[in-house]
């Protein structure tokens, strides 16, 4: 049901309904252009649509952070199923069971850190939409997708460290963290590698890739 029951979604629906009523009334009854009609058209063509546009943008921004949005493309179905599986032990699934991360699990982990993280992540998401609808991914089978598609760049460890601070004792008390500090900082070793905390999604790498 999309985001109709969120505050932004509800505001979009209400303001759009009011504006549409005004516009339909004008189209059907064609009243003379009196100051009252001008004012009504100002509400129907500028004020209410402006509120609807702002609210629908807000609603869209919220919606695009939800895992069900990412999972609405068939190539992401298995990722979403694994995320929602309470028995799964994958890194992504375990993280999504946190009540803080869960509602926006894909976005929280995949959004880049920093001031431009939010808009850059949204732009990357737009590229995914482009590749899916115009780049041919829509017709790919899930098997082909799992076998051939990999992340565009290595997953940055800074994204993990948005929550898992590298300065706390709980992090520094782990020998491997200290001995690999430079490699972790330079992203030469991934937190989500098979020998460390495990791959995030169980099918994001083949057995051959994992054994390397």
């Amino acid at each position: 049901m999309g985001s109709a029951f969120t505050p932004f979604g509800a505001l979009t629906l209400v303001t759009a309904a009011i504006a549409a009523t005004i516009l339909l009334h004008h189209l059907l009854f064609r009243p003379k252009l009196t100051p009252g009609v001008r004012m009504r058209l100002l509400l129907g063509l500028a004020v209410f649509p402006f509120v609807a546009a702002v609210a629908s943008t807000g609603s869209g921004m919220v919606r695009t952070t939800e895992p069900t949005f990412c999972g609405s493309c068939h190539v992401m179905e298995t990722h979403l199923q694994d995320l929602q599986d309470p028995k799964s032990t994958s890194l992504a699934s375990r993280h999504s069971r946190s009540h803080i991360i869960g509602p926006t699990a894909c976005y929280t982990c995949h959004a880049d850190y920093g001031m431009l993280g939010y808009p850059l992540t949204k732009l990357t998401g737009m590229m995914h939409v482009y590749h899916y609808y115009l780049g041919g991914f829509r017709s790919w089978s899930l098997e082909k997708f799992h076998a051939e598609i990999r992340t565009a760049k290595p997953y940055p460890n800074q994204n993990c460290q948005q929550c898992h601070s590298g300065t706390l004792a709980s992090f520094l008390n782990v020998k491997e963290h200290v001995s690999l500090a430079d490699e972790l900082a330079q992203n030469k070793v991934s937190c989500a590698s098979a020998g460390c905390h495990g791959v995030a999604h169980p099918f994001s790498k083949t057995k051959e890739e994992l054994s390397r």
């Binding site: 629906l13 759009a16 189209l27 500028a46 649509p49 919606r63």
Partner: protein, 75 residues
């Protein structure tokens, strides 16, 4: 310059342009509502881009039509 602009606006087909603005506005609102109700990638992207383009166009047509109406009523 101002006189030319007023003369140009006086020829603007106000009623017709207002009706076009209403249709564009309705189309934009429909796209926004679809984006909210369906919540899948294409409708959401459409609501945040195409719908806003149509909405701005409708608003511009409305502004021009009102300006034209005012200009045509000038003595």
């Amino acid at each position: 310059m101002m006189t030319r602009l007023l003369r140009l606006l006086a020829r603007w087909p106000t009623e017709r342009m207002l009706r076009i603005a209403c249709v564009l506005g309705l189309f934009a609102l429909a796209l926004m509502v679809t984006g909210v109700l369906l919540g899948t990638p294409l409708p959401v992207v459409g609501a945040m881009s195409v719908a806003q383009g149509f909405g701005v166009l409708a608003c511009l047509l409305f502004g021009l039509s009102i300006a034209a109406d005012v200009a045509s009523r000038r003595p």
